[in-house]
Symmetry: C2
Subunit: 303 residues, 2 copies
C-alpha cells in the first residue's frame, strides 16, 4: 500500500474523521473522542513499560512560574517560542477603554500587564526547582504528563502551539543519567515499533535562535546531546520527531543548585513522548479508524 504523505492530506483526513476539530487559529485544535482514546491508551502503555522504574509521578499545570523561565536560560536559546502571560490590572475607566477597543477591533495590548506566570516551554521545566539541594544516593527519576506551549503557528498538523508530552526526567551522576538515557532510547524505539510504526533514532538539534544559534546547534549535534525517534507522518523524506531525548549535562544542575549525594553538580537528562504526534503517526500508518488497525497494535493498546 502506498501512502500519500503531505501536511494537507493528514490534516484533511484527521478533520474528516473527527479526530481534530479546527478552530480559527493554527496549531490549536480540538481533539475528538477516538483521538483522545488512543492518546490515553498509548500513555497507559508507556506506564506499563516504565512500571519497574518506580519513577515519582507528578503533574504540573500548563503555566510556569515566570522566574523559572528567566532563570532557565530558555529565553537565551528560544525567545521566539516562549509564551508569557499578560492580564488586565486597570481601573473602571481603563476597563471601558479596553472593551471599546476590543469591540471595535482596535489594539488593546497597552491595557495588558505582564503577570508572574508564563506558559510551560518544555515539559521538564516545572520540575527542576523541586530538585534544588542534595539528591539522595541514586539520584531521582520523575514521570509527568504536561501541556507544552510553543509560539509557532503552522498549517502542519504535527506542529502545534499547544500539545501534551509524557516526560521522564532523570537527575544524578553523569554515568547514571547517560545509562538511563540509552536504556530509554532503545525502549522508545521498541514501544513504537511494537505498534507497527516505522521508527528509528537520529542525532538531532534544537531550533536555537539567531546566527549564534547555528553554532549551538552544531555543538549539540557534535556532542550527541540530543536524539530523536522519528516516523514518517507528513513526509517520507523528513520524518517527524515523536520522541525526544536531551542530555543537558550540568546545565540545570548549575542553574538550580542541584548536587549529587557525593557533592558534585548533578547532571540531568529528559525524554518526552510527543503524545499528539504519536497518535497522528498511528492514524497515518494504520488508517483513520482504529477498527481497521493491525490486531497486534489493537491488542497492545487494549482497543
Amino acid at each position: 500500500m502506498s501512502i500519500d504523505f503531505s501536511p494537507e492530506v493528514l490534516s484533511n483526513d484527521l478533520i474528516a474523521a473527527g479526530h481534530i476539530i479546527p478552530v480559527g487559529v493554527q496549531g490549536i485544535f480540538g481533539r475528538g473522542p477516538m483521538f483522545e482514546e488512543v492518546l490515553r491508551r498509548f500513555d497507559d502503555y508507556v506506564s506499563r513499560v516504565a512500571a519497574g522504574d518506580q519513577a515519582t509521578r507528578m503533574s504540573f499545570p500548563p503555566c510556569l512560574d515566570r522566574k523559572v523561565l528567566e532563570r532557565s536560560e530558555y529565553l537565551d536559546s528560544f525567545p521566539q517560542l516562549a509564551g508569557t502571560i499578560f492580564s488586565f490590572t486597570g481601573n473602571e475607566a481603563q476597563h471601558k477603554e479596553l472593551i471599546e477597543n476590543v469591540h471595535e477591533g482596535r489594539p488593546w495590548t497597552h491595557l495588558q500587564t505582564m503577570t508572574g506566570v508564563c506558559l510551560t516551554p518544555a515539559a521538564c521545566y516545572p520540575v527542576y526547582p523541586s530538585f534544588t539541594g542534595t539528591l539522595p544516593e541514586g539520584g531521582r527519576l520523575v514521570d509527568m504528563q504536561n501541556w507544552v506551549f510553543r509560539n509557532e503557528p503552522s498549517p502542519e498538523p504535527t506542529r502545534m502551539q499547544s500539545f501534551r508530552v509524557r516526560e521522564f526526567v532523570r537527575v544524578g551522576t553523569p554515568d547514571m543519567v547517560v545509562a538511563w538515557r540509552d536504556l530509554w532510547l532503545q525502549r522508545g524505539i521498541d514501544i513504537l515499533q511494537s505498534l507497527g510504526l516505522p521508527a528509528h533514532s537520529e542525532v538531532a538539534s534544537d531550533p536555537f535562535f539567531g546566527r549564534g544559534g547555528r553554532m549551538l546547534a552544531a555543538n549539540q549535534r557534535e556532542q550527541q546531546l540530543k536524539f530523536e525517534v522519528v516516523i514518517p507522518v507528513i513526509s517520507q523524506e523528513k520524518p517527524t520527531a515523536v520522541c525526544s531525548f536531551n542530555y543537558h549535562q550540568d546545565h540545570f544542575g548549575k542553574l538550580f543548585d542541584i548536587q549529587t549525594a557525593d557533592g558534585e553538580v548533578a547532571h540531568t537528562a529528559c525524554l518526552g513522548f510527543g503524545l499528539e504526534r504519536i497518535v497522528m503517526a498511528l492514524f497515518k500508518t494504520h488508517g483513520m479508524d482504529t477498527a481497521g488497525w493491525p490486531a497486534a497494535t489493537r491488542e497492545i493498546l487494549g482497543l
Copy 2:
C-alpha cells in the same frame, strides 16, 4: 471527629502528604501521584454516570483563539481574570536587549508582542464556535476535560490560577437546556454525596468586574442562572464551590450564530466539576491517605 478548617491547614496537609508540590508562585503547583490517581478515578466515575447520555467527547488545549475571547464578551465581565499570551518577535539586536534585561532583573515587557492566542478562560469557551450554524433536532451535548486559567494568585489552595474542569455543554431549545441542567444538578449532588462528601447546592453568581458588575451579579442570582454545589474544604461557614452550573440563555447562541432546528436562537448551559477542588474535598473530608478512606468511597473510585 472535628475537622480544623482553614486554608493554611489544608495547604500544609496537602504539601506534607506530597499531594501538592509548591512552586515559586501562588495558584500554580505540582500534583503528586495519589492526587493524580484520585483525580483520574473521580473523572472516570463521572464518565460512568454520564455514559447513557452519549455526549460527544472532545478535548481542547489550554490555549484559545484570541478572537473567541474577544467575541465572547468575557473581557466585558471578567477582564481581571483573563490571560493573554505574548511572545518575542524581534531581531538579534532586540534579543540581546531581551536577555540582558532578563539576566539583570530589569523589565522586558516592551520586548513582548501579543499573539493570536490566549488562555482558556472557562472550560466551555473553546466549543462554542464549533456549534455555529443550525443544530440537529435534539440539539447537541459535548463532554470535555480542559485546563482553565484565572489570573488570581492566592495562598488558598482551592483558588488556583490553572486547574482542570470536567465540563459538559448542552445546546438546544430553552426547555431542553433547562431540563438537562436540572437533571445534572441532582446528579452532581448524588455523585458527591455517594463519595461521603457533605455537598449541597446554592444559587450563586459570578465575580463580575467593577461597580456595574454588582448589578449583573444581582440579576444573575435573581434569575437563578447560576447554581453551585458546595462542600466545606477550607471553611465551614463558606463552603467551596466544586461544581458549577451556568444557564447562559441565548448569550452564546447570539454571539456565535447558533440556531435550533426550528430556526430559533439556541440556548446553552454548561456544568463543570472542578477536579482539583473535588480531590481536595475528598482529602479534607476523609484524610490525606486514601488507604484510610471509607470502604464505600474507595469502592466507587476503584481505589
